[in-house]
C-alpha cells in the first residue's frame, strides 16, 4: 500500500517552506519522495526522526521535513550524526549528503563511521559535481569530463562510493539512480531497519550545473538504458581482479554501464550494542577493584 503524494506532503513536510530551492530537473525532489515513502511504509514516528546534512544542494533537504533536522558544516554531517546517535540510540538518524560533501571534504568521517559501525542511514545524492557552487569537478566526476574547474577535461580517477563503503566494511550498501524508484524505496527501508551503518548512493540528475545532459529525461533514459545490476552472478561472470578489494573503489562504470543494485547486506554488531556490553564489563571490573 502506498500513500498519496498529497498525504505525504501534508503529513511530513513543512509546507510553508515550499516551493524548494532546487533547480528544474534536479533529482532531490524525487529522493525526498522516496524517503517519505520509506518512512511512511515503515510507520516511523515523526518525533523519532533526526535528519542530518552538511553543505550543498542535497544538504538543504532536511529543511523541508517537519521533523528534527540539523544542517551542519561542510563535510561534517556524519560526525554530527555520530554524536547524536551515540547519545540517543533510539533515534532514527538519516544523513543526507552529496558527493562533494561526503567524498571530498568529508570522506574521512564517512570511512571512520563505517569502521565504528554507527547505526545511521546515509543517503548520498551523487550528481557527479559540486552543484551549488555552479558545477565544479568532484571526486565522483567521471574521468575526461569538462567542468568549470576542469576546462581542459578531468584527468583524475573518480571514486565509486558504494564500493568504497563496501571495502570499508559497511553492513548495508545499495546503489540506485533516481530512475529506480521502487528499488530505491526498498533499499532506504532496508537501510533504516538495518542495525549498523547503511549507505544508499543515489545517482541523480543535475542538468543545470552538472550538464552531462541538458534535461532530466535524458538523464533518466541514460540511467535506465545504461545500468547493469550488481549480483553474485554478475560477480562470477566478470574477471576476479575487477572486484577484489581496493580495486573496486575506482570503478565507476563497467564496460560503459553504471553498476546498480544491492551491493552488501550482512549482519555485524553495531557500535551501540558493543558499547553497552563494554560498559557492563567496565562496571564489573570497577566494583571488583573496589572490593
Amino acid at each position: 500500500m502506498t500513500s498519496t503524494i498529497e498525504y505525504l506532503r501534508n503529513n511530513y513536510l513543512r509546507n510553508d517552506l515550499l516551493p524548494s530551492i532546487f533547480c528544474p530537473g534536479c533529482g532531490n525532489g524525487q529522493i525526498i519522495n522516496y524517503v517519505l515513502h520509506a518512512i511512511d511504509e515503515l510507520k516511523i514516528p515523526k518525533n523519532n526522526i533526526v535528519l542530518v546534512s552538511g553543505i550543498g544542494c542535497s544538504s538543504r533537504i532536511p529543511a523541508y521535513f517537519d521533523t528534527d533536522g540539523i544542517h551542519t558544516t561542510h563535510g561534517r554531517a556524519i560526525a554530527f550524526a555520530t554524536g547524536i546517535k551515540t547519545t540517543n540510540p533510539k533515534l532514527d538518524v538519516i544523513v543526507f549528503t552529496g558527493d562533494g560533501d561526503l567524498a571530498a571534504i568529508g570522506l574521512n568521517h564517512f570511512l571512520q563511521a563505517i569502521r565504528r559501525n554507527i547505526d545511521i542511514t546515509v543517503i548520498c545524492i551523487n550528481n557527479e559535481n559540486f552543484g551549488m557552487t555552479g558545477g565544479q569537478a568532484s571526486p565522483t566526476t567521471p574521468m575526461g569530463s569538462f567542468t568549470a574547474t576542469t576546462p581542459y577535461q578531468s584527468i583524475e580517477h573518480s571514486f565509486n562510493l558504494a564500493f568504497l563503503a563496501k571495502t570499508a566494511g559497511a553492513p548495508y550498501v545499495a546503489r540506485w539512480t533516481t530512475a529506480h524508484s521502487r528499488e530505491a524505496i526498498n533499499s532506504i527501508k532496508k537501510g533504516l531497519k538495518k542495525k549498523g551503518f547503511s549507505f544508499i548512493e543515489m545517482l541523480s540528475p543535475c542538468p543545470v550545473s552538472g550538464k552531462r545532459f541538458k534535461s532530466s529525461h535524458e538523464y533518466i533514459n541514460y540511467y535506465l538504458n545504461n545500468s547493469i545490476k550488481y549480483s553474485d552472478k554478475f560477480r562470477d561472470e566478470t574477471s576476479s581482479h575487477l572486484f577484489s578489494s581496493l580495486e573496486e573503489c575506482f570503478i565507476t562504470d563497467h564496460e560503459g554501464k553504471i553498476i546498480i543494485g544491492e551491493i552488501v547486506d550482512i549482519d555485524k554488531p553495531d557500535f551501540h550494542v558493543l558499547y553497552k556490553k563494554l560498559k557492563e564489563a567496565a562496571k564489573n571490573e570497577f566494583w571488583k577493584s573496589r572490593q
Binding site: R14, L17, K46, N47, N48, V50, V52, R60, P62, A63, D66, T67, D68, G69, I70, H71, T72, T73, G75, R76, A79, F80, A81, T82, G83, I84, T86, T87, N88, K90, L91, N108, H109, Q112, K268, P269, V273, L274, Y275, K277, L278, K279, E280, A281, A282, K283, N284, E285, F286, W287, K288, R290
Partner: protein, 409 residues
C-alpha cells in the same frame, strides 16, 4: 579480569562476574583532599558538572583529559566517550550530542583548536551549549608542544569567522581548573553559548593540592527546559514567556521538531540567507545576550589595588609569578597592586577603566607578544601608562623579572 572481544563482537569474560551496581561520580572520585594535575582536575570538574559526553583526539598537552574521560565515562550509566578521527569531528559530535540534552565537552591544544574553529562558529550560530578546553602550547603551527604559552587568547575570542560572542575562562591553578570547569558548563547552559576554558601546559601538568568536593555540594545551573506550548514554539523565539534574549532549548526526539542551520535563520529557524534585517537582529542578539549579563559572567581577582600606583595585570600561569612579585615589592615599600583576569572574554573593561583613573601605570604580564595588552591599553583610554612584559618560548616570567619591571619606573 580480562574482557576478550571476538571478531563477531561477542564478549567472553574470564573471572568472576559480579552483580553490576550503578556507579555514581562520588564512587569514582571519592570526595577527598588529594594531589592532582590541572588536566585531571578538569576531568573531575566535568564529571561533577554532569558532563556525560566527551569526544576528543589525542594532542599534547591535553591528552590526559581524553584519557581520563575514556576511563571514567563508560562507568557512568549515561556516559559516553568517543575518540574521534580528528578535532573537526570531535567538536561536531559534541555539538550534535548537546542537542540530546547532554552536557558535552572536548579538549585540545593549539593545532586542534585551530581545526575546531569552523564548528565553534556553528555552535554560536545554533546557540548550542558546549565546553571546549584549550590547553595552550607554544605556536604558531606545531611550535613547542610540551611547553606553556598564552598565544591563543585572541584566537579564542575571534578564531571563527564572522561576528560572534563566546565566553572564555582561564584558571591559574589546579583547584581552579576544577571549579572553572563546573562554571563553564553552567555558563554554557545558561546563555546557550560555547564556553572556552583556557589552560596551559604548566597548569595542565603541575601536580598540586586539590580538594574534590562531594557532588551534592556542586552548584549546577541546568539548561532551561522548554515551557512554550508546541503550537506556539519556535526554536529561536525569545522574550515570549520570559524576558531574556536566550531562547528556550528543546531536544532531538521530542515533539518540537527543531531544524537547525548554520545559515542565517529567522525565529522559526528557517533559512533566510538573503535577509539583512533578520541577520542583523540575530547576530546582535548573540552579542546582547552576553553583554547584558557581563556582571554575572565576569570574574577577576584583585589585591592591593586601593593605594596602588602600578597595577600588574595578568592571567593564567604568569599570574602566580606576578602575585609573588607584587607581594615582594609591597614588602619593599612599592605601591603595587594585582589584578588577575579569570573571565577573559567578555573583557572586564569597566574594571580596567575605573582602575586606570587612579594609577600611574598598568603592567601587563603575558606569555605572548601582547594580546590582552592592547585591550588594557584600549580601556584605560590614556588615563595612565600601559606597559607590557611579554615572554615567549615556553619559559614562565619569573617573580624576579616582574619585580625588576615594577622597580624600573
Amino acid at each position: 579480569m580480562r574482557v576478550n572481544l571476538s571478531r563477531n563482537g561477542d564478549f567472553s569474560i574470564r573471572g568472576e562476574w559480579l552483580k553490576v551496581k550503578k556507579i555514581t561520580v562520588d564512587d569514582i572520585l571519592i570526595p577527598k583532599l588529594t594531589f592532582a594535575t590541572g588536566n585531571e582536575a578538569i576531568v573531575y570538574g566535568a564529571l561533577l558538572a554532569n558532563c556525560r559526553f566527551f569526544a576528543g583526539y589525542p594532542i599534547t598537552p591535553a591528552t590526559e583529559i581524553l584519557e581520563g574521560m575514556a576511563k571514567y565515562l563508560p562507568l557512568l550509566d549515561d556516559g559516553i566517550c568517543l575518540q574521534m578521527e580528528d578535532e573537526l569531528s570531535s567538536i561536531a559530535a559534541v555539538i550534535g550530542a548537546s542537542w540530546n540534552n547532554f552536557r558535552t565537552m572536548t579538549a585540545t591544544s593549539g593545532p586542534g583548536f585551530s581545526l575546531m574553529q569552523e564548528n565553534i562558529g556553528y555552535a554560536c550560530m545554533t546557540e548550542t551549549p558546549c565546553v571546549i578546553v584549550n590547553v595552550q602550547r607554544s605556536g604558531p603551527s606545531t611550535g613547542q608542544p610540551t611547553l606553556p604559552a598564552q598565544g591563543d587568547v585572541m584566537q579564542s575570542r575571534w578564531g571563527t569567522h564572522g561576528d560572534h560572542y563566546v565566553i572564555v575562562l582561564y584558571p591559574n591553578d589546579v583547584q581552579e581548573s576544577l571549579s572553572l570547569t563546573i562554571r563553564a558548563f553552567n555558563l554554557a547552559d545558561k546563555y546557550r553559548v560555547p564556553v572556552i576554558l583556557l589552560s596551559d601546559a604548566t597548569i595542565a601538568h603541575t601536580r598540586e593540592k586539590l580538594i574534590i568536593p562531594n557532588q551534592k555540594e556542586v552548584e549546577i545551573i541546568p539548561r532551561v527546559p522548554v515551557t512554550i506550548d508546541v503550537s506556539k514554539y519556535h526554536p529561536f523565539r525569545t522574550g515570549f514567556v520570559r524576558p531574556t534574549k536566550v531562547p528556550e532549548m528543546d531536544r532531538f526526539g521530542d515533539e518540537y521538531h527543531t531544524y537547525l542551520t548554520g545559515l542565517t535563520h529567522n525565529w522559526k529557524a528557517y533559512p533566510t540567507p538573503n535577509d539583512q534585517e533578520v541577520h542583523e537582529k540575530l547576530v546582535k542578539r548573540f552579542y546582547e545576550k552576553i553583554r547584558d549579563n557581563r556582571d554575572d559572567i565576569i570574574t577577576y581577582e584583585e589585591k592591593y589595588t586601593k593605594d596602588a600606583e602600578i597595577i600588574v595585570v595578568s592571567y593564567g600561569i604568569p599570574s602566580r609569578s606576578a602575585l609573588v612579585a607584587v607581594e615582594n615589592a609591597r614588602q619593599k615599600g612599592h605601591k603595587v597592586g594585582y589584578l588577575r583576569l579569570i573571565t577573559i572574554w567578555p573583557f572586564p573593561h569597566k574594571k580596567i577603566y575605573n582602575l586606570s583613573l587612579d594609577i600611574k601605570k598598568f603592567l601587563v604580564v603575558e606569555m605572548n607578544l601582547g594580546q590582552i595588552f592592547h585591550k588594557v591599553n584600549e580601556y584605560s583610554r590614556g588615563n595612565c601608562e600601559v606597559e607590557g612584559f611579554f615572554k615567549i618560548g615556553g619559559k614562565i616570567p619569573t617573580p624576579q623579572e616582574i619585580f625588576k619591571m615594577i622597580k624600573k619606573r
